[in-house]
Symmetry: C2
Amino acid sequence: MVGTKDRIMDSTAELFRRQGYNGTGIKQILAAANAPFGSLYHFFPGGKEDLGAQTIRSSGQLYMELFATIAVQAPDVLTAVSDFFTGAAQTLEETDYADACPIATVALEVASTNEPLREACTEVFDAWIGGASAYFTAAGIAPEKARELALSMLCLLEGAFIFCRAMRSTESLHVAGASAVAAVREALESAA
Amino acid sequence: MVGTKDRIMDSTAELFRRQGYNGTGIKQILAAANAPFGSLYHFFPGGKEDLGAQTIRSSGQLYMELFATIAVQAPDVLTAVSDFFTGAAQTLEETDYADACPIATVALEVASTNEPLREACTEVFDAWIGGASAYFTAAGIAPEKARELALSMLCLLEGAFIFCRAMRSTESLHVAGASAVAAVREALESAA
DNA sequence: GTACAATTAGATAGATCGCTCTAGTGGGTG
DNA sequence: CACCCACTAGAGCGATCTATCTAATTGTAC
């Protein structure tokens, strides 16, 4: 059986990615998690902000692991990048354009208004950039170039999420994916 | 003298880009605009949503005009794209990482929760994509390729804004800008 | 000057927000 | 059995949210 704390965090993660931090109420989270009100402040003494910070870190890490899973299954780097964008597009369509990046909405909301949550987002993004950089470096790309490539790929992904969700179309995700694959291909050819 | 309605919309635009839609209260907007409470529902009978829709369209168009202004002043296409990213990075630093995209935060917030506002964002994004596509087409790039280029550039820009604001660094904007310039250069060379 | 519309002004309603509080339940341990 | 601790349960507080309401004021055309 899944513990109450996990149920709360799972519901929070799902609601945050769809409605953001300010758009999600505590009562809504608890109703979705089918959790008692008192449990929230038992598991998260710091209240909504505490819950938010833990959820950001948790779902951020989960999302990085999703990329790692896809990367392990793919035969090569180019396929991995392509599969990741394609998979994101498919998820978006299946969820009626709701489930894209788990923390982007929250990141923009809190960047100028809530320092602890902003720092949680920074940590997640740092891990993503570091993870992708290491992945490209392992494929034979120079560290500095690998970081630029990782940053570009993530920018393409996050930007595409915005357009896809707002415009209810996966076009930008497919175009951005193709663009990311092309950039990685060039870097690989230069390295060889 | 600037009319009350314009003052309200200006304040709304500034607050939306920093705190998003849900994070911005009507009283805060009116206080910032130094406008009386009654005026809001006089000029925006539909309330906050009405104000939000008009502000999204207005600030979205203003932002497109900003790109047009930079493009006109630049000697060539590559310089224009480069200047736009550099200018965005400079603005971000000058405003303590607050002023990036005028509607991205709102777009993510409302994409799955508020259909009228989502449609307003779609209109703005459509105009941006169309405008950038036309700009690249005028530079000699085939229409289909121009649209892909426009989409990639905008994804890079929007994605970079997320990382820059959350991480309080302009690194991603500079890397994304370089990536966008490289993509446009290749397209121009292929077209020639 | 008068009349009429546009705008300003703010009190207040009604709902919801995050959060605190006390009381109670249930299961494992001595 | 008694005890304790983790957890459940929900009433209710003060604050804040959007929106409505009436009334006063301002601007303008006749």
